[in-house]
Each structure stands twice: as structure tokens, then as C-alpha cells.
């Protein structure tokens, strides 16, 4: 566990770039949106909603791919075991997800208190994330970080272990699998039932429960994959 902590610290030796990229891009995205909607000068009842918040999650996804393609060979070169590297990464992601979600939550609260930064802008608060329970709302910010992080790790590990052919195979299987299910659902007329299932799910399950379950599944599969990966 000590060694895992060392790995987590190792990934922060250049912390300025680790923290700077996601927040820098988010800040840029926010400022552009703010400038844009201030300039538009629309009527009072216009309440724009942007997808700008996505940018920080996208950066997290890219960073997690880099963790496998770049940090992994470096850490193993320094005599770190695969297990410690993986655990260190998990610690790192948990730390980032929790702290980043806390900041985003805070910004969303400020956004509400200032009537959308004075221009009715909804940037940090996303409509479908509107739940009253503060814990769920916090998790709604945090879980997507982890989910995207582990999707990035899983994809990069497939590449690391099985190369380009592995990625092509994964894409083929995913395409065939999803396509097959769509055909099946259409043929059997399951769509209304599927829609109903989603509607019936409580908000917390769609927001937190299912993404968390998927994250755990990916985390487990990634661990099994990294155990035999070569840098």
C-alpha cells in the first residue's frame, strides 16, 4: 500500500500539468460561454444551458489513456509492480474525482446563487443532474470522472496488451454486440419496454448506481488485464 501511495505521488511530480490541463480547459470553455451569452444580450426568460462542463471529463479520459501508454512503462522501469501501479492509479483517480467533484459542486452552488453568473447561464449545473440530495448530487459529479477514467484505462490496456489488432477486435465485438442487440430489440418490439425500464429507474440509479457498477466492472477487468501486460 505504501508503494501504491508512492505511485500516486509519482504521478503528481509534474502536478502543474496534471491539474492545469483539466481546469485550464474547463476555465477556457466557461469564459467563452460566459462571453458568448453576455454578448447575445437575450431577453430575461432565455436560460442557456451548455455542454461545456463535458470538457473536464474529456481531459480526464485522455489523461487516463496516457496513464497506461506513458506512466505505466515509466513506473515499471522504476521497479514498481503492476499491482502497485494499478492501485496507485486508483488512489490518484479517487483523489481527483472527489476533489474535482467538490469544486464543481461548489461552482454549481455559486452559479445558482448568482442567477447564472448574472446572465442566466447554466454551465456547472446540468438539468438532468438536478437532484435535491446533496450526496447524490456530489456523486453525480464524481462518478463520471471515475467511469471515464476506467474506460480510458481499459481501452489503453487492450492496446497495450494486444496492440492495434486488439483494439480492432474490441471495436468489432462491440459493434457486432450492440448492433445485434439493437436488431434483436427492434425485431422483438422491445423498445417500449426498454424505455419503460429507464423511466422506472429511480434518479439515483441512473445517475450514480449503474455508472458506479459499470466502473467497478471495468476496474476489475482492467486489473486482470494489467497483471500480464508488458510495458
Amino acid at each position: 500500500m505504501n508503494r501504491a501511495l508512492t505511485v500516486a505521488r509519482l504521478q503528481f511530480v509534474a502536478w502543474r500539468s496534471v491539474v492545469g490541463w483539466p481546469w485550464g480547459i474547463l476555465a477556457l470553455s466557461f469564459l467563452i460561454n460566459l462571453a458568448l451569452f453576455s454578448a447575445m444580450n437575450e431577453a430575461d426568460d432565455f436560460e442557456p444551458t451548455t455542454g461545456g462542463l463535458m470538457s473536464i471529463y474529456v481531459v480526464m479520459f485522455v489523461a487516463s489513456v496516457n496513464a497506461i501508454t506513458q506512466d505505466f512503462p515509466f513506473a515499471l522501469g522504476l521497479g514498481v509492480s503492476r499491482r502497485s501501479f494499478y492501485l496507485g492509479n486508483v488512489l490518484n483517480y479517487l483523489g481527483q474525482a472527489i476533489s474535482y467533484a467538490a469544486v464543481l459542486y461548489l461552482l454549481a452552488v455559486i452559479e445558482e446563487a448568482t442567477d447564472g453568473w448574472g446572465v442566466n447561464l447554466t454551465f456547472f449545473g446540468i438539468p438532468f443532474l438536478l437532484v435535491d440530495n446533496p450526496v447524490l448530487r456530489f456523486l453525480g459529479f464524481a462518478i463520471p470522472f471515475l467511469l471515464l477514467g476506467f474506460i480510458g484505462i481499459a481501452i489503453a490496456l487492450v492496446f497495450k496488451r494486444w496492440g492495434v489488432n486488439g483494439l480492432l477486435m474490441l471495436s468489432t465485438v462491440a459493434l457486432a454486440g450492440i448492433g445485434g442487440l439493437v436488431v434483436l430489440a427492434t425485431w422483438r418490439g422491445w423498445w417500449s419496454a426498454i424505455g419503460g425500464w429507464f423511466v422506472d429507474q429511480p434518479g439515483w440509479a441512473l445517475l450514480v448506481g449503474w455508472p458506479a457498477l459499470l466502473t467497478l466492472l471495468l476496474a476489475g477487468l482492467s486489473y486482470l488485464t494489467i497483471r500480464r501486460a508488458t510495458p
Binding site: R3, T6, R9, V13, F74, L78, V80, S81, R82, T230
Partner: protein, 306 residues
């Protein structure tokens, strides 16, 4: 002296290629081992398996008495500096050194800074913008300052000029003398390191050709030159690795158990005898198709001078 590394019947096969073929040896503690062999001989694969970065197809590997795979106790005592090491693109030289300091418990920061000065490494430069030589230097600094009980250098000198290489050898030897540890140095530049190496491992096409003390090896291989008949006579006492002939004279490299008596014998036959350099030995052993064969087999492989 206890064995730090022991390897038994180690075999590694990639698709259709046997990179290592039933290799067995052990490495004694507190020595400098030279791991020699041509490109593609299997040197890097061997070191990757010893550091658990790669997986053996079959055979036993033991490092500090345990298997290295996922073994933190073993891995934390190993430093593996390889020519092909990559670094995360957002790191500067100073970040890499800080990372190494976090990981290696015996890291000597003062020594690292001294080496940075000696090799004139630009601390603030991004690793992706370093020249090939600077990248090699960074590896060398990490490898030396880590003071790991088992340190592998896999051709650490790429892109370095002769002066920088000599600086590396000097600092390696000085620091090794002060802080004894087990060092494995894989290299092509055999002449340059022949004074440094205490034990020689020679790999060719995945097989171990030599596992011998450097001192013992020096007397084992000699080059004699003189009249063909006399050379033939002398070569019978060992296995001939190589021969070049010109007219009635020949020059042969012979391996055998040569003591002072052999020198007298050569003199009485009217032959010039000289001990072969380590580089000569390695070249002769890897080019004679069967380095360990008896003299008759090697003699069939005679090579006329061009």
C-alpha cells in the same frame, strides 16, 4: 559469495522465434557482470524477464532468492536502465529525478546533482526535447544515483561521445567501489568496458556461450601466428576459433587451458603468442558457429584472408 540472480533452463519464445534457449547461470553478489552478445542475441529479453517486465515461456528465475514477478520486495531493489526507456511527455528532467527519488530508498540526491553537473544535463528541459545522448545520460544518472543493490544497464550509452562514455565508466567504477552492488552491464563496446567487467556472460542466438570470470577467460583464448605447420601443431592443444592464412604463415585464435607451459611450447614451435582481447574473444566465439566444439569441428570453419 551468495547468488543474487539464479536462472535455470530459462526459455523465451515469441511467435516462431526462440529469444532465449534453455539459459542457466547465476550472478554473484557485488560484482560487475558484462552481458555481451550481438544485437538480437537475447540480452534485453533476458533482463526484462529478470526484472519481471516480460514473461518467461519456461524455466526458473530467482532474484534475491524469490521470483521477481509482482514481488515488491525484489523489484524495489532493482534498477533497470534501458536504452528504450520512455518517459511521460509532461515530465522535465527534474521531474524524472524527483520520481526516482520517491521510488528508490537508497537514492543519493547529492550524487544525482553532482552527476547532473558532470554530464551537463538541462534540468528544466522536457524529456521529449532531449537529444539521444541526453536521454542516455538521464538514464545513467538515475541508474547510478539509485544505488539499487541490483542494477542493470542495457546499452546505456547510445548517442554519447567517447568523453561522456568514459565519464560514465569512471563514475560507475568509483561509486561501485564505494558502494558495492551487483551490476549487469549489457554492451557492444566491449573493448571500452573490458577493464571494468569482472564476470562475462556471452549470449548468442538465445544460447549462453560463456559464463566465466573475466580474469580466467583472458588466459583461455590466445592468438598464435607463424608457419602453418607450427600453428596446426599448436592448435591441436585447444579448439580453434578462427584462422587467417597468408602464404605459408597463419594466424589462429585458439581456446584452451593455456598456462605458462603453453607459452613455452609456442616459443619452441617458433610461434608468436598473444592473449586475445575480450572483444576478439567475443567476436571469434560468436562467429565460429560452434564456439564450444572441439578443434576439428572449428577447423572446418577456417577462413582465408581476403
Amino acid at each position: 559469495m551468495s547468488a543474487v540472480v539464479s536462472v535455470t533452463d530459462l526459455t523465451k519464445r515469441y511467435q516462431g522465434v526462440t529469444a532465449l534457449d534453455r539459459v542457466s547461470f547465476s550472478l554473484a553478489e557485488h560484482r560487475i557482470h558484462g552481458l555481451l552478445g550481438r544485437n538480437g542475441a537475447g540480452k534485453t529479453t533476458l533482463m526484462q524477464i529478470l526484472t519481471a517486465q516480460n514473461f518467461a515461456t519456461s524455466g526458473e528465475v530467482s532474484v534475491f532468492g524469490q521470483h521477481p514477478y509482482e514481488n515488491e520486495q525484489v523489484l524495489s531493489r532493482i534498477s533497470f536502465i534501458k536504452e528504450s526507456q520512455t518517459y511521460p511527455s509532461n515530465l522535465r528532467v527534474t521531474h524524472v529525478l524527483r520520481a526516482a527519488r520517491l521510488v528508490y530508498s537508497d537514492w543519493d540526491e547529492e550524487f544525482a546533482q553532482r552527476l547532473v553537473d558532470v554530464f551537463q544535463l538541462p534540468l528544466g528541459r522536457n524529456v521529449r526535447k532531449l537529444s539521444r545522448g541526453m536521454l542516455s545520460t538521464l538514464g545513467i544518472v538515475v541508474g547510478l544515483a539509485s544505488r539499487a543493490p541490483l542494477t542493470f544497464f542495457d546499452e546505456p550509452y547510445l548517442g554519447l561521445d567517447a568523453v561522456a562514455r568514459q565519464l560514465f565508466y569512471d563514475h560507475l567504477l568509483a561509486d561501485y567501489t564505494e558502494h558495492p552492488r551487483t551490476i549487469v552491464l549489457s554492451t557492444h563496446l566491449i573493448d571500452e568496458v573490458s577493464d571494468l567487467i569482472e564476470h562475462v556472460l556471452l549470449i548468442d542466438q538465445g544460447r549462453l556461450l560463456l559464463d566465466v570470470e573475466a580474469e580466467a577467460l583472458r588466459g583461455q583464448v590466445v592468438t598464435v601466428s607463424g608457419p602453418v605447420a607450427a600453428v596446426d601443431e599448436f592448435a591441436r592443444t585447444g579448439s580453434e576459433l578462427h584462422r587467417a592464412s597468408l602464404g605459408g604463415t597463419a594466424r589462429a585464435t585458439v581456446r584452451g587451458d593455456f598456462g605458462p607451459a603453453a607459452h613455452d611450447r609456442a616459443r619452441s614451435l617458433g610461434l608468436d603468442l598473444e592473449a586475445s582481447s575480450l572483444q576478439d574473444i567475443v567476436v571469434r566465439l560468436t562467429t565460429s558457429h560452434n564456439g564450444r566444439a572441439a578443434g576439428s569441428a572449428a577447423a572446418a570453419d577456417k577462413e582465408a584472408v581476403r
